[in-house]
């Protein structure tokens, strides 16, 4: 036999099944291109040189992993659609006298061709788009570096290996499928209907419980740290709940629709409802997949957009003033040097400074159990809630505008935003502080008040008491103990560049050794922090949108395949209905009703998920310092709007190809 026979046969098979293979090939091209791009960017030498690129590289690396795993699952899933449609063809070959090993040879060539073409095109597209995507990324992280056009061999190799593996596994799976089937089964497999499914109450209950649990976590877990831990639990519960509910719930709902005689016996609903009941089991999985993917897109994109949009408010929250000089364990001399350095820098650079303020502060974590402030030491974590205590002096408090009060050595004033406000005293190791008053306002505006844990600001009599507390802390925390810090914060009159230059200059002045030796001091500027935070948020936004695209593509493709494969099954049904007296117009409208239901059920469900997840994501992005709920709400609504629009376009295209098949 001709050496090229199987190759030619494979080629003509692919051509014949063009409408099935084209989207599949496009999907491979898309995923491989995206994988290549992420891979190439995360390995890019130019990006490595950017400040704060460590976070960015880590984020992009994470993205590579997600896309890789996703590609495996997704392409495998799409392949199963193809196989289902083509089994009849293989059965026919088998019956016409082709042995299974011949079919295997043919399938081998098919996959080789698909793999070759799609990986080649995917990498080509990746290489071409790489530059564009890099530019988008750099724009997002507000960084300008001119990059040359270059090709990452490393990324190409890893893309080729990954996708060859996926195709290899796919081929093995397909061969196994054909191998174990009898020819007559192959012939019939596409036309197998399902028996009408029973309403499964147990599954429905499990679904409701899982979904309820997930929602409850999202709605009622307040502590952001717990949110971080429980987030994935909630995600898994919601996914589980979605699958169960779609499987059991959809059948129940459809049966209810059927029970409602006035609704059911209408031309539009009659065929669509019965058609959906008929293949609800396979529908349910498809619909849940669509729903979950949509939810992921929405959560990712809205979360990262909000984070990105909220960069400024987060930065201002973290650093209320532009320049922050922190000295550790300073003597009076050290403090004077800081004051001097700031004044000298201003004089040297001829820059005006304003809003200068300084305070002394000791801050450490305790686990607060009622009025006891316990110190977690080593492995054993004492009872109570993790909280941060910020100790400040009465002098600083009053200098900042606090009211005049006298304090004894064992008396304190307390301010807390979200912690307990009823305590009478604090017991700290062998010391007891009587709380003289709970303050309603803290004048120390330079101190960060919005943080993850409950924070207690405790005003003590003077620095002597502060020192005592420090000694106590050191006795437990040893070398991990935090030091008393002296913070000077100020704004400079000038642009960002001057702000950074000023910070540098202060830092230089302080670093120069003097007779008293070196002092431990750190200078931070808001501008620099902003840049590195921007890098972080921009990287996240980039990844969010990037993965959003990938998932959107997957959603589209799943919907497309679902409708197309159902179209072939429905063709016969609609032919019968036309024979019995259904007009073309009625066929169209009943198809529309069916596709509408299939399309918008998952979208509605995804929106409900998003609504429930909203408080949780809000707390999560709060962890990154973004505390602007209205902004987040706007971003979320915007994302949903854009998504729905894209979804509607996909609907239009799918409905058209469905009509083509059926009509």
């Amino acid at each position: 036999m001709n050496r090229f026979f199987y190759g030619r046969l494979a080629f003509s098979n692919l051509k014949k099944n063009g409408s099935l293979y084209l989207p599949y090939v496009l999907a491979v091209i898309g995923t491989s291109a995206m994988y290549y791009i992420l891979m190439a960017i995360s390995r890019d030498e130019g990006i490595k040189e950017m400040p704060g690129s460590g976070d960015l590289a880590a984020i992009l690396g994470l993205g590579c992993g997600v896309i890789g795993i996703f590609a495996v699952i997704f392409l495998f899933y799409t392949n199963s659609f193809l196989m289902k449609r083509r089994k009849k063809e293989f059965g026919l070959f088998n019956i016409l006298g082709m042995e299974k090993r011949h079919i295997a040879k043919m399938m081998f060539w098919e996959i080789v061709m698909v793999a070759f073409v799609s990986i080649l095109l995917g990498i080509t597209a990746g290489v071409l788009l790489n530059k564009l995507v890099t530019m988008v990324l750099l724009h997002l992280v507000s960084f300008e570096v001119p990059f040359g056009f270059h090709i990452s061999i490393e990324a190409i190799v890893s893309t080729v290996i990954l996708f060859l593996c996926i195709f290899g596994v796919t081929l093995i799976y397909n061969l196994f499928q054909v191998q174990k089937a009898k020819p007559i089964e192959l012939l019939q497999s596409a036309s197998h209907g399902e028996k009408e499914p029973k309403t499964r109450w147990l599954l429905a209950v499990v679904g409701i419980l899982a979904l309820g649990g997930g929602y409850a976590i999202a709605l009622f877990v307040e502590n952001p740290v717990d949110v971080l831990i429980l987030f994935f639990v909630a995600v898994i519960l919601v996914i589980l709940g979605t699958y169960c509910l779609f499987t059991a719930g959809s059948i129940a709902v459809l049966k209810l629709m059927r029970k409602n005689k006035n609704y059911y016996y209408k031309t539009r609903h009659f065929t669509s409802v019965s058609g959906m009941i008929y293949r609800m089991k396979q529908n349910a999985v498809g619909l849940s997949n669509i729903c979950i993917l949509s939810t992921m897109v929405l959560v990712m994109v809205s979360g990262t957009i909000s984070l990105y949009m909220g960069v400024d408010s987060s930065v201002n929250n973290r650093y209320p003033k532009e320049i922050n000089v922190t000295g550790y364990g300073l003597t009076e001399n050290g403090r004077e040097r800081i004051k001097g350095a700031v004044a000298q820098a201003a004089a040297d650079m001829e820059i005006g400074i304003e809003n200068i303020s300084s305070y002394t502060n000791l801050s450490f974590t305790v686990s607060k159990d009622g009025e006891n402030l316990n110190m977690p030491n080593g492995i054993k974590v004492p009872e109570g809630e993790m909280s941060i205590v910020e100790w400040v002096t009465l002098e600083d408090y009053q200098r900042m505008g606090g009211k005049k009060v006298e304090l004894r050595e064992d008396e304190v004033l307390v301010y807390t935003k979200i912690g307990d406000k009823e305590d009478q005293a604090y017991h700290f190791l062998d010391k007891t502080f009587q709380i003289k008053e709970h303050l309603t306002q803290l004048y120390l505006t330079d101190m960060q008040t919005d943080v993850i844990y409950d924070v207690y600001f405790v005003v003590v009599k003077d620095e002597k008491v502060l020192q005592e507390i420090y000694e106590l802390e050191k006795s437990v925390y040893k070398e991990r103990a935090s030091q008393i810090v002296y913070v000077t914060a100020l704004d400079v009159k000038g642009e960002e560049e001057q702000e950074i230059a000023f910070g540098k200059h202060v830092s230089e002045l302080l670093a120069a050794g003097t007779a008293e030796g070196e002092i431990d001091v750190r200078v931070e500027t808001r501008a620099e922090y902003r840049d590195s935070f921007m890098m972080f948020c921009g990287g996240f936004l980039f990844l969010g949108i990037f993965l959003g695209f990938v998932f959107l593509m997957a959603t589209t493709l799943i919907i497309y395949y679902k409708q197309v494969s159902e179209g072939y099954e429905d063709k016969a049904r609609f032919e019968i209905m036309q024979k019995v007296g259904m007009s073309k117009k009625e066929v169209r409208s009943s198809i529309r009703s069916q596709i509408l239901k299939v399309f918008f059920l998952p979208l509605v469900m995804a929106c409900i998920h998003l609504l429930a997840a909203f408080p949780m994501i809000n707390r999560l992005i709060f962890l990154f310092g973004m505390a602007d709920m209205p902004l987040f709400a706007i971003c979320t609504v915007g994302t949903v709007g854009v998504f729905a629009l894209i979804y509607a376009v996909v609907y239009g295209i799918t409905a058209r190809s469905y009509y083509k098949i059926v009509g």
């Binding site: 028996k195 016996y265 031309t267 019968i576 209905m577 024979k579 019995v580 259904m582």
Partner: protein, 255 residues
């Protein structure tokens, strides 16, 4: 009065590639009176199915006209066609054409649902028909759960429920075992006695012998017809059988 008139109907198919023309019907003329039970017989390829499709308004004649109650089928506009067929014609097919997605009852309701009838009316119409056809017990079942004979009875119920002018049956016994076929045929006779006009296309002499009149089609023309008159089914069977022998052997020997 003739309920159905077929005048000089001609049908020519053009093959998909190139201009090869195939003449399926050359010149068919006959009429069916109200309350008649007519069977049309002919060999494979004689044009039976083409004729039925034209009568069912599923296909258009190349020349000639078909009048149902005096109304010309080819003059009905495309968008009224479905409604017209639904209201005036009932169909019974060889392979039942029941939808797997519906229970038998819903299958029977389908034409009424399409006509926008309410559930109660549909139910009222169904009851006597279901009783007559003996499918009361299985109305809730699905097509894949019942036997071929039961499926065909459901299909007959679907054809009857719209009170059609005429029932068009295409090889209704073709997919049934002999027992089920016999019971279906006697059902047809019963329905016909109540005044329902039936036109059946068939291969089977047995089926045709139940009809009141049999038309024979050969090479796209009505070749011959025989009336049952007062003869029994058995005598009719013999007559048809003889006629078919004449037709298949070309008629030369007997002339």
């Amino acid at each position: 009065m003739a309920i159905l008139e077929v005048n000089n109907v001609k049908k020519v198919y053009t093959t998909r590639f190139g201009g090869n023309q195939v003449q399926a019907l050359s010149d068919v003329t006959f009429s069916v009176e109200k309350g008649e039970y007519v069977a049309i017989m002919g060999e494979s390829g004689s044009g039976k199915t083409t004729l039925l499709n034209i009568l069912a308004a599923l296909d258009k004649a190349t020349a000639g006209q078909v009048l149902l109650n005096g109304k010309n089928l080819s003059a009905i506009r495309e968008r009224e066609l479905s409604a017209f067929r639904r209201q005036n014609l009932g169909f019974v097919f060889q392979d039942f054409n029941l939808l797997d997605t519906f229970s038998l009852q819903d299958n029977i309701f389908l034409p009424l649902v399409l006509a926008g009838k309410g559930y109660n009316e549909m139910r009222t119409r169904l009851m006597p028909i279901a009783g007559k056809l003996g499918i009361n017990e299985i109305l809730g079942k699905y097509p894949y759960e019942v036997s071929g004979g039961q499926k065909q009875r459901a299909a007959v119920a679907r054809a009857l429920i719209t009170n059609p002018q005429i029932i068009l049956a295409d090889e209704p016994t073709g997919a049934l075992d002999s027992k089920a076929a016999e019971s279906l045929l006697s059902m047809f006779q019963g329905i016909n006695q109540e005044g329902q006009t039936i036109l059946m296309v068939t291969h089977s002499i047995k089926a045709a012998s139940c009809a009141k009149r049999v038309l024979f089609i050969k090479d796209g023309q009505v070749f011959h017809q025989i009336y049952k008159g007062s003869s029994s089914d058995e005598e009719m069977y013999q007559k048809i059988s003889d006629t078919l022998t004449v037709i298949t052997t070309g008629g030369g020997k007997h002339e």
